[in-house]
Structures are given as C-alpha cells and as structure tokens.
C-alpha cells in the first residue's frame, strides 16, 4: 500500500528530525489504515510524552552505513600505519617497513601492519603459473603447482617473525637515538602461519644420505636465496600459504614462503619457488655480508639463524607522553625467543636496581610473541623502565654492555639487549641506555 495522495507540502514538521504534526494526515486526507508505521508515530506523538533525549550522539539516532566486502580499520585509526625506514625510502627497490608495535595489544599483528623487508621490491606473481621445484641431492626431482600443494596436510602455529636487524640503532649508535618503539623495534611481528610441513616435500622427493643443506630461493626479481640446514626443514619449517587465516599478502611472499620458526626474517624466503638440496651452503649474498655478525675480535660469524630471547615494553614507550602526571598505569610489553617459550619477564622502574615479575598473558607459546603486564603507580618522578626476559632454556637477555662486549662496534644484527625507556618528570618517554 502506498500513500499516493500525500505530497511533502501536506506534511508539517513540528520538530527537527522529521517529527510530524498529527493533523498532517487529516489535511492530506490519508486514511490511518494506509500505514501502520505512520499511525504509530502519530499515536505516540498524540500523548505528548517524553522520549529519549535528542542530545545523544547522531550515530545512535540514524541507521548506520553498509559493510564492505573486505573490511578495513576505522577511519579514526588511520594514523596506525607502518612506516618506512629513512635510509630505505619507499621509492627504493630495497625498503624496510616497520610495524607500529606500540599500538598492538595481544600477540597477533594484523596482516596489513606486519613488518616487511623487501630487498628487490614486491613481485606480482600469478599463482596459476607459479611452481615450486625441488632438486639436487634427492631421489626424485619434483615440481608442485598451487593446486596440488593446497591438498597437502597443513599445520598452523602462532609465531613471531623478526628481522636480524631489528633494533640495530641501539646496537651501533653511541648515544641513544630519540625514536619510537616502531622505529626501534618495528621489525618484529606476530601471526598465525599455516601451511605444508616441509618434511612432506623433502620425504616425497627422497633425501640422499649426503643431503645437509637446502638452497632456498624466491621468485622475486633478485632471486633472493638462503642456505638452510636440512635438520631445520625436517623439524618445524613449513611452506606458509596462509597468514592469520587468509592467503599470504604479496609483501609476505604470495603465493608461498618458507617459514622457519624462531629464525631471522631473511631466512624465511618469500615468493618461494626453488629448493636445491646440497651438502654445503652456497654463501649467498646475505650470508656473505649483510646478515653476518662481526665479533669483537674481528671474526665474521655466519649462519647465526636464531633470534635470541628479547623483550620490550610497548606501553609506555619511546616518544610517548604519559597523559597524567601521576597515578595508575599498566606497563605492558612483548617478549619472545627463537629457542622456545618465554619463562618469565621481569620489570624494573628504577633502572635495574629492583625487579618484579610481570604477569604473562595466555597463551604463552614457543617461538611466539608473549604479552606481559604489570601495574604501575607512577609517583611523578623521573623513572627508568626496563624489561628482562628469560626463556625456557634459561637464556636471559644481556645488558647492552654485555651484548656490546661480544661484537665489533659496528655489528648491528641480532641485537637483544635489555631495553630501557627513560621517563622524565614531565612524563616524556625516551629511548635510553643503562
């Protein structure tokens, strides 16, 4: 039924928001029976009773907008973004994107915010044409297309991923640089990675007894490659196809990447397309220079795959300002170890003189970000916040001095020293060394 004989001129508004005068209907000659909804509005108006206060927010008085096919964060969260390291601008083919780790809660980094390092840009790979090859010291050289790989038994695990160069400024800078947590620690993220255990592929091809290493290569422009020990690939490595429940993003290696839990990011070869099984490493570009450690005695340490036990307080952290001079704050942060589970995290507010055990938030998983919390009543004086993690193997974070003693003054990889945030009496948080 439609009110054919009502024109807008006939309907008299008596209040903002489209509230109508009840006599409008008589003037227009519209029968009450023509619309139940309209008659109800008129009826409630007729008793002159109060209604919900109209000063409530607009969004509580209007129907909302529609959803979208692929959701996006709120426009009010638009400032939570990755940013690109200054010395590798986004215009360069080699760029480093940092995750805003101080804005994260929990242990999962959203896919669009996961850190990424692209040495040769992001290739646009057609999954229909992409193949994975395995050859070398195997009984049967094989090739797999996407369709067949997707049929293999898959496993999932929540793991951290960290670039060997995360926190490099604190490793090499003589004075602490005033940077955010994103700037200093933004090359670590956490996600659930799902895919095919590599052992199925290696077993299917059949490893020869002399097989010790696999040269793992990507299909990007620079054919990124790394030598990975067979023992790791037979242990917990996967061909990752999904990240946090959806297929990998291009910047994380679509359509597939190697995922070696707990090992430096660079070894987790993206855009995976070739596995060459060998008896020795190939000494590829990144194991020749950029991803090695220079020790204090000048020796060049190669194949230091593990990311060691590490932690950082994310709330509060670098360049933030505590909103209130004093009072209650919850200190919160992240801890992780490439060797296993986090056993404990200690927090100090006095620069390491006294320590207290933080609470570990569940789940506490192997080779995963682990969230810790501790309540803090700030008295308004300057303070020095520290966190120190220990993993289940008893590995403890060193002090910066202890870390520095092992390495040459310019060695910047695998930095895992205790992080210090200085809080001034104005509540300004600043990167610091203790």
């Amino acid at each position: 039924m439609k009110p054919t004989n009502v024109s807008s001129k006939d309907l008299v508004a008596v209040a903002k928001g489209g509230v109508l005068d009840r006599r409008s209907f008589i003037l227009s000659g519209l029968a009450f029976s023509s619309s139940l909804a309209v008659s109800n509005v008129a009826a409630s108006d007729s008793v002159g009773a109060s209604k919900i206060n109209q000063s409530i927010p607009t969004w509580m008085k209007t129907p909302g907008g529609s959803d979208t096919e692929y959701g996006a964060p709120s426009k009010y969260e638009n400032h939570i973004k990755r940013n690109v390291a200054e010395h590798t601008p986004e215009t360069s083919i080699f760029s480093i994107w940092h995750t805003p780790i101080e804005n994260q809660r929990g242990i999962i980094t959203p896919n669009g915010l996961h850190f990424s390092v692209n040495h040769n840009g992001i290739p646009d790979i057609d999954p229909q044409k992409h193949k994975l090859m395995i050859h070398g010291l195997v009984d049967k050289p094989l090739t797999f297309d996407m369709e067949s790989l997707l049929r293999y038994p898959m496993v999932s695990a929540i793991n951290f991923l960290e670039c060997a160069g995360n926190t490099a400024p604190n490793a090499v800078s003589v004075t602490p640089l005033d940077q955010t947590c994103q700037g200093l620690f933004g090359q670590v993220s956490g996600a659930e990675w799902s895919g095919v255990p590599l052992k199925y592929i290696l077993q299917e091809a059949g490893l020869k007894p002399t097989a010790k290493w696999v040269i793992v290569e990507g299909a990007d422009g620079g054919s990124h490659s790394r030598s990975i020990p067979v023992s790791k690939l037979l242990d917990d490595a996967i061909i990752a196809l999904y990240q946090n429940g959806e297929r990998l993003r291009p910047s994380q290696g679509y359509p597939m990447r190697l995922f070696v839990p707990g090992w430096e990011g660079n070894a987790n070869v993206k855009w995976l397309h070739r596995l060459e099984v060998t008896d020795k490493p190939a000494f590829t570009k990144d194991e020749s220079g950029l991803y090695s450690d220079i020790l204090d005695d000048g020796k060049i340490q190669r194949f230091s795959f593990h990311m060691d036990v590490k932690s950082v307080i994310t709330h509060p952290s670098g360049k933030q300002v505590l909103p209130e001079k004093k009072g209650f704050y919850e200190i919160s942060g992240l801890a992780w170890s490439g060797y296993g589970k986090i056993k404990q995290v200690e927090v100090s507010a006095d620069g390491g003189r006294t320590w207290a055990l933080a609470q570990l938030e569940q789940p506490v998983l192997s080779k995963s970000l682990t969230r810790f919390h501790i309540p803090w009543q700030w008295k308004g004086d300057s303070a020095m916040l520290l966190s120190r993690a220990t993993d289940e193997l008893g590995r403890v974070q060193p002090t910066r001095g202890q870390w520095r003693e092992k390495y040459a003054s310019y060695s910047f990889n695998h930095y895992n020293a205790i992080q210090a945030w200085y809080i001034s009496s104005d509540g300004v948080v600043e990167n610091s060394y203790v």
Binding site: M133, H135, T143, P153, Q203, S223, F283, S288, G289, Y410
Partner: protein, 200 residues
C-alpha cells in the same frame, strides 16, 4: 593431474592415516603419523630446471663458461652501477663494494658522514665476502637493481673482475674467467666462523 592419480592419492593418504589414528587412539596426531606418504609432485625434468639453476657454489658448480676483463668491467660499472654504488664503490644505499668494514678509514676520512646517511656502508663486500663466486652469483641474479638478470655472463665476469680490482685482489690487466675466479683468495674467508653447530 589425472583423476586416477587424484583418487589413488586420496585413498593412500586419507585411509591409511585414518586407520592409524583409529589404531593408536589418541597416541599420535594425524600430522605426526609416519604411515602416509604424499605423491602429488610431478617429475621435474632437466630441461624445465635448466633455466632456473643459477646458484653458483664456492667450488665453481654452475659457473658458466665466459670471460671479462677489469677494463671492460670498469666501463660497464660506470654505465650501469656507479649511479648507486658511487664512483669508487663505497657510496650509496647498499653495503660498500670495496674497502674495509667499520666506522673509520684513514684513507677515507668522509666515510663516517656517508655511514650517517646509509648505515649499511659499515660493511663491505671486499672485506667480508668469503668467495668471489658469490659476487658473480649475486651480480648475475640481482644487479643492476633496476634491471636484474639483464647482464650476460661475460659482462658479469668483467664486473666481478672490476670489483675484485677495486679491492686490490686483481691487477688491472687481468681477464677473469670460470677457472681464474676459483683462485681468488678473499680476505673475508679467513675471518669466517660458523654459529651453526652442524657446519664448521
């Protein structure tokens, strides 16, 4: 893939692991079950592989035949590399191609300023890389950065020769080829140790 093969695979993987799970009750999980083997991979033929087998090993495996001189390399370097790596191979956004690693060099007092802008200039191909074969491998697969895999093998030998020359590891009148490259003793080799316990 033929439907026959699909079916065979399904039966083999699913039935055997189902039986195993039933037999062991909760003792083993499906993914741990050793009693299935997958067979979805297709045979990789030598001709399919040959275009992609580009990794050069320190013992010379996969090195193509070819040759190039330091002089040719210098010319190529000026045209295709210098804009990013600098006139002397010690500038720009990447690791230094020549010279020592570290903050300071008495022969290069401005190094520290360049490091301020590009911290990876702290490290150097000439002082850290243990094998000349890796310079050949990386240049051929990835450089120049804007046009990877655009150089032919002789050009890559010439550029490798030039980088070695910049590091006083070759005389200026030398021609590098697949044999000579294996004789280069890189200073980074004797400094090398391995953190991976299975490889020393």
């Amino acid at each position: 893939m033929s439907s026959h093969r699909l079916y065979r695979c399904f039966v083999k993987n699913t039935l055997s692991s189902l039986l195993l799970v039933v037999a062991l009750s909760q003792a083993a999980t499906y993914a741990d079950a050793a009693d299935f083997s997958t067979d979805l991979g297709e045979t990789l033929s030598a001709s399919e592989l040959s275009d992609y087998e580009i990794t050069i090993f320190p013992n010379g495996k996969n090195l193509p035949e070819g040759k190039g001189s330091v002089i040719q390399g210098e010319k190529l370097y000026k045209g295709r590399c210098m804009m990013c790596h600098g006139e002397e191979g010690d500038e720009g956004p990447a690791a230094r191609l020549k010279g020592s690693d570290g903050w300071i060099s008495f022969s290069d007092p401005l190094r520290i300023l360049r490091i301020n802008k590009y911290p990876v200039l702290l490290i150097s191909v000439g002082s850290l890389w243990p094998y000349a074969t890796s310079i050949f491998d990386y240049t051929r697969r990835a450089m120049p950065h804007y046009a990877p895999k655009s150089l032919n093998d002789d050009e890559v030998y010439a550029l490798t020769a030039y980088i070695l020359y910049l590091n006083d590891l070759l005389e200026k009148d030398v021609v590098l080829d697949e044999k000579r490259i294996l004789n280069i003793q890189m200073p980074g080799k004797n400094r090398s140790i391995s953190a991976w316990p299975e490889f020393k």
